[in-house]
Amino acid sequence: MTEFYRQYLAVAVFVVAAFGMVGAMLGLARLLRPTNPQDEKYVTYESGADPLPLFGQANVRYYIYALLFVIFDVEAVFIFPWAIDVDGLEWFGLIEMTIFIGVLLLGLAYVWRKGLLKWA
């Protein structure tokens, strides 16, 4: 057996352990608890709020904000590793990161000019 397959064996062990664990907990609970079913108990728990109706309408404008958020959130993911080695990368790194952020800001400028940041 090669090293590669041995690594997959570890994954298989984990899968079996995961299913076994959840199965044991739920099975044990089923054996020990009293059962007294009511309709309300079978409603999905959703932070105390009524889970229905399922497809409430959200304003489509949130979409553009969600998109912008994701873009700049991912930008942060790229900035962190760069910031750790900012000394080692010297001027090259600074210029590179400026270009990267500049490209993303162009997208923001486009959205702004097209008036999509106004809520009205």
């Binding site: 590669f4 990368l89 010297e90 790194g93 490209v103 162009l106 997208g107 486009y110 097209k114």
Partner: protein, 495 residues
């Protein structure tokens, strides 16, 4: 440590990327109703990116960067040049169509060029991650472009179908790539190739290769992964359809060539038996089903969609032949066959873009994409009819047009690869060339032998940009047909 940059080698992509940003800025600074300025910027940028491609080709040295993840060699340069010229022709096709439509105008060029940038990077990508990023850069803008007629339900359907299929194929491909990484311990295609030759091919690699090939088969719309293509091609704006069926498809083919030739092929053709049977089946099915479906179409765009599925099958023939030759140990013949794929790709690009240019020109008056709308075109617009005849005849493979040469190298590679499988594939391709002739000839029959349908018998006015596109594609189709050494040399240099 900072990576080493070879700015000359990067110049085509840098110029293209700068143009992409410039079109975006121009889009929001210039007035929205007028995109002619933006289209000019885009066109000039594409031509400017061709300049370093020419100087690099003149220089001739292979340049590798980023640990060999990004390589500029003759193969990459030939394909970069192809993508840039095809992009220029697509811009010429789009200018009047976009200006007369009720769409966002400037953004069209931004999205188009972003996709072209992905293709240009793909030509140089020699690493699984670089390839994936390039492929997504190609695909994501085209999802939006397919749905560009946003008040039209058919166009929306086209976009959604293309998007869902695109995501599915990416997922399959990524899964395959992750298994390949598990096998080779590297994402560099060169190291994967070395591993294939050194360690042989366990069943795991066969699964990985199969999954990634299926992912790419979706991108190049090979049967049985083609079902999205006719609906998407019909619903998308016609210039976008031209772009999808030529540039985007070529992008998929280049990705396939990269991963197979630089990766699964191994250093010495050791891995060929993994992939050539898959490609063989895809080629045979694409040719046969594509052609049979194209026979029954009444809409010219749908017909061209199925014809492009079939042409994709023809392109896969030398691909499979390269695998057969490689498995038999004839590496020189395998290289020739890989070259034949590139030659077919270049020729197909010219003649298919030309055919779409005529369809766009004719639709300016008829407002229809039915094959019957071409009735009597020779009486009303003889020049357009002659050009359409040239492109249809070239697609059918009639000498002395470029399509003949592409078909010739395709057959040659399959026959010389030899063996029962090579000969069978050549026979299947031969039968299909005959079938294909019927539907291409159907369009010719409408143009030459039918009476024009409408009252309006004046000549169709063709705008300057569209005339330019027709001139370029017709010139390539005719010149390469008469002087095929031009592209034959490209195929030789590339591999």
């Amino acid at each position: 440590m900072n990576p080493v940059f070879d700015w000359h080698a990067l110049a085509p992509d840098v110029v293209l990327a700068a143009t992409v940003l410039l079109t975006l800025v121009a889009t929001f600074l210039l007035p929205d109703r007028d995109a002619t300025q933006v289209s000019r910027i885009a066109a000039i940028g594409v031509l400017a990116a061709l300049v370093p491609v020419v100087t690099l080709a003149n220089d001739g040295a292979d340049r590798a960067m980023f640990d060999g993840a990004y390589v500029v060699d003759n193969y990459a340069l030939a394909l970069k040049a192809f993508f840039l010229v095809a992009a220029y022709v697509t811009i010429l096709l789009s200018v009047d169509y976009i200006q007369e439509g009720d769409y966002y105008r400037g953004e069209f060029y931004f999205l188009l060029l972003t996709s072209v940038l992905g293709m240009s990077v793909m030509a140089s990508a020699r690493d699984l991650i670089t390839m994936f990023v390039a492929l997504e850069t190609i695909s994501i803008p085209t999802f939006v472009l397919a749905a560009y007629r946003k008040h039209d339900r058919v166009s929306n359907e086209a976009g959604v179908k293309y998007y869902v299929i695109g995501v599915l194929s990416s997922a399959l491909m990524l899964y395959g790539m992750s298994l390949i990484f598990g096998y080779a311990g590297s994402t560099r295609l060169a190291e994967i190739g070395a591993q294939v030759s050194a360690a042989g091919a366990p069943p795991l690699l066969a699964v990985a290769v199969f999954l990634s090939l299926v992912g790419f088969a979706f991108k190049v719309s090979a049967v049985p992964f083609h079902f999205w293509a006719p609906d998407t091609y019909e619903g998308a704006p016609t210039p976008v359809t031209a772009f999808l069926s030529v540039s985007s498809k070529a992008g998929g083919f280049v990705a396939l060539l990269n991963i197979v030739f630089f990766g699964f092929y191994g250093v010495d053709g050791a891995g060929t038996e993994l992939w050539w049977p898959v490609i063989w089946v895809l080629a045979a099915l694409s040719m046969t089903l594509g052609n049979l479906a194209a026979l029954r179409q009444t809409n010219v765009v749908r017909m061209l969609a199925y014809s492009s599925v079939a042409q994709g099958g023809f392109m896969l023939v030398p691909f499979a032949a390269a695998g057969i030759a490689g498995a038999a140990g004839d590496l020189g013949q395998a290289d020739t066959a890989f070259g034949a794929v590139v030659i077919y790709l270049l020729v197909y690009g010219a003649m298919n873009l030309g055919a779409f240019a005529v369809v766009i020109a004719a639709a300016r008056r008829t407002r229809s994409a039915e094959i019957s709308s071409f009735a009597g075109l020779f009486q009303t617009s003889p020049t357009l009819a002659v050009l359409m005849t040239v492109f249809m005849a070239s697609l059918a493979g009639i000498p002395p047009l470029a399509g003949w040469f592409a078909k010739f190298v395709m057959f040659q590679s399959a026959v010389e690869a030899g063996g029962a499988w090579g000969i069978t594939l050549a026979v299947v391709a031969g039968v299909n060339s005959v079938i294909a002739f019927f539907y291409y000839a159907g369009v010719m029959r409408q143009m030459w032998f039918k009476e024009p349908a409408g009252e309006d018998r004046s000549e169709i006015e063709v705008p300057y940009a569209l005339t330019g596109a027709l001139a370029i594609t017709a010139a390539v189709t005719l010149v390469v047909g008469v002087y095929p050494q031009l592209f034959a040399r490209v195929g030789e240099l590339a591999f």
